[in-house]
């Protein structure tokens, strides 16, 4: 029986996913939708490149025959993977579980539940076991001496009842927030879009950081939804996460559990963020940030 991994391009998440799959044993069959098959071939035993643009119904149709007979199917936690995983499991008669931070040989998956306040180990009852994982936090697989063979498959066109008519990118930079090493993040206490633009943005520039936000700041429309970090936002793992005017609700913390250092600026000494931060300051950010920018500029 084989392990199938499904990739939408090659990045740190793909590396982690291949690592997780390799450690389950069995033959490793990687399916790549879009670019990246040649990179993936350095880690997998067998590669299928699906020559198609993403579309949920079309991808499912193409993946089901490729996954037949697999013991486990692993995906990362991007939009497309999360969209496909439960449906793929259903069509193969298997079970799915998501947002895994660990997986063992019996395919028991550890994940956060209750907004990050608890952790559960979930045992899948049906085969194949389908899991989408926080792939970036898994160690990569060892590279092979020779690349695996790549088979290119062009799936037949299907009559889909849904059609993607427009696609837009709205990111800050080409680099992904998930890969950022320094992140400056703002919450509801920032008070409006001006605070993000005039205070946090220049600070982020000085620190070479990308910007992020809490759900409250995104829901207020101050910054785009692509900035949201947390249980239902991006899962990030920077060396430094500077949380400004963010309470530190468990659902927010669920997105930064892999951050190496958390620092906080918050006016409230009892804010839960201080129970997670390594260092911080209890002050109004509007007083701290301008001064901080000055200091940082002088230290350069």
């Amino acid at each position: 029986m084989s392990i199938v991994t499904i990739h939408f391009g090659f990045d740190r998440a793909a590396e982690g996913l291949l690592g997780a799959a390799r450690r389950l044993g069995d033959e490793l069959h990687a399916v790549v939708i879009g670019d990246g098959a040649h990179d993936v071939a350095r880690y997998a035993d067998r590669v299928t490149a699906l020559a198609m643009d993403y579309h949920p119904e079309a991808c499912l149709g193409a993946l089901v025959p490729l996954c037949a007979g697999a013991r486990a199917i692993l995906l990362a936690n991007d939009t497309y993977s999360q969209e496909l995983a439960p449906r793929l499991a259903y069509r193969l008669g298997g079970s799915a579980v998501g947002d895994g931070v660990a997986i063992d040989e019996q395919l028991r998956v550890t994940r956060q539940v209750y907004g990050g306040k608890a952790q559960a180990v979930i045992a899948l009852k049906r085969t194949p076991g389908v899991a989408w994982l926080r792939a970036r936090s898994f160690a990569p697989a060892p590279m092979r001496d020779t690349s695996a063979e790549i088979t290119t498959v062009t799936p037949p066109n299907i009559e889909a009842k849904t059609r993607i008519i427009e696609r837009r990118k709205e990111t800050q930079t080409e680099a992904k927030l998930e890969d950022a090493r320094v992140i400056v993040s703002g919450g509801r206490g920032i008070g409006g879009p001006e605070g993000f633009a005039n205070e946090l943005q220049p600070l982020a520039q000085l620190l070479g950081a990308q910007m992020a936000a809490s759900r409250a700041a995104c829901d207020a429309g101050w910054v785009p939804p692509t900035w949201q970090v947390g249980q239902t936002g991006k899962k990030v793992a920077p060396d430094l996460y500077l949380a400004i005017a963010i309470t530190g609700a468990s659902q927010h913390m669920a997105g930064i559990s892999e951050a190496k250092n958390i620092a906080a600026i918050n006016i409230d000494p009892d804010a839960p963020i201080f129970r997670h931060a390594r260092f911080g300051i209890v002050e109004d950010y509007r007083k701290v940030v301008p001064l901080l920018r000055e200091k940082l500029a002088n230290m350069k």
Binding site: P56, D78, T79, Q82, E83, A85, P86, R87, Y90, G98, Q112, V113, Y114, G115, K117, A118, Q119, A120, V121, I122, A123, A160, T162, I164, I165, E166, R167, R168, E170, K176, E178, R181, L207, G208, C218, D219, P225, T226, T232, D239, L240, Q251, K260, A263, A264, I265, P269, P272, F274, R278, F279, G280, I281, E283, V288, L291, L292, K295, L296, M299
Partner: protein, 262 residues
């Protein structure tokens, strides 16, 4: 358009971590003094439906849960959903896995009949499975679009905008279709008017049980093998100093320290 919104009642996700306890034997959260609330993404879904609602539409809300889930449905009626149905579950029933929930919801959909658009939340704030909408689509043999934040009609065609990690995609869809909803600035749930809350309590509520729908109580998808509260150690060093100037200076130094070692 005949629209269905699936809504789940959950333990209040805002219970602070220090008050959160688990029942190790049942592998469930302890209710304690926490309240039960409607899952936020279900309210985002209802709000999306209410804003979309083409002329002559009817919005039905559906929940599978304990008798207390009636509160979730009454609140939805107060937000101006048109009709509500509750599939009642025993209070002490074990937590259902997402496939069981999807089977019950699918059977309810067939029994209530004739929906063009079925909305769910992207995930529930308790177990956060993030699967029920997708599995419901499969049970019903319908297409599914995940993480949508707005719906519109363009020349009679349904358009669905959904978020991706780098931006958004616009879908055109034939009905019936299942759509899972995520949050954005436009679908923050409205607060119902006091008058509507009172009126909602007089509205009829359709009730049935899973058994009446022919769905046995069976969790054959997955099980919770362990549930625990992870230990987190944390020692936050608050920067010291007599003046703000001194404190910020300390902060700047620390920030440089952790970023310089990169």
């Amino acid at each position: 358009m005949n629209i269905l919104v699936c809504m789940k009642q959950v333990l209040d996700p805002e219970v602070p971590a220090r008050d959160f306890r688990i029942d190790a034997a049942r592998k469930e959260a302890e209710r304690g003094s926490a309240s039960l609330v409607t899952n936020i993404f279900c309210e985002n879904a209802l709000e999306t439906a209410l804003q979309f609602r083409p002329e002559g539409s009817r919005i039905t809300v559906l929940s599978y849960g304990a008798a207390s889930a009636e509160e979730t449905l009454r609140k939805a009626l107060a937000m101006k959903a048109d009709a509500a149905a509750l599939v009642v579950r025993e209070d002490d029933a074990p937590p259902s896995d997402p496939l069981h929930a999807a089977r019950v919801l699918a059977a309810s959909v067939r029994s209530l009949g004739g929906f063009d658009l079925i909305l769910t939340g992207r995930e529930a704030g308790d177990w956060g499975a993030g699967q029920t909408g997708a599995l419901l689509a499969e049970e019903l043999g319908l297409p599914c679009i995940a993480f949508a934040d707005s719906l519109s009609l363009d020349g009679g065609k349904l358009r669905i905008r959904r978020q991706t990690e780098s931006g958004w995609e616009l879908f055109e869809a034939e009905t019936p279709v299942v759509v899972t909803i995520t949050n954005d600035e436009h679908n923050v749930p409205r607060i119902p008017k006091v008058r509507d809350v009172i009126l909602a309590h007089r509205q009829p509520l359709t009730q049935f049980t899973a058994v009446e729908l022919g769905v046995p109580e069976m969790n054959d998808y997955y099980e919770v093998a362990e549930l625990f509260i992870p230990k987190k150690e944390s020692r936050c060093e608050l920067v010291a100093g007599d003046t703000l100037e001194q404190k910020v200076d300390q902060l700047a130094r620390k920030l440089v320290e952790v970023t310089a070692s990169l």
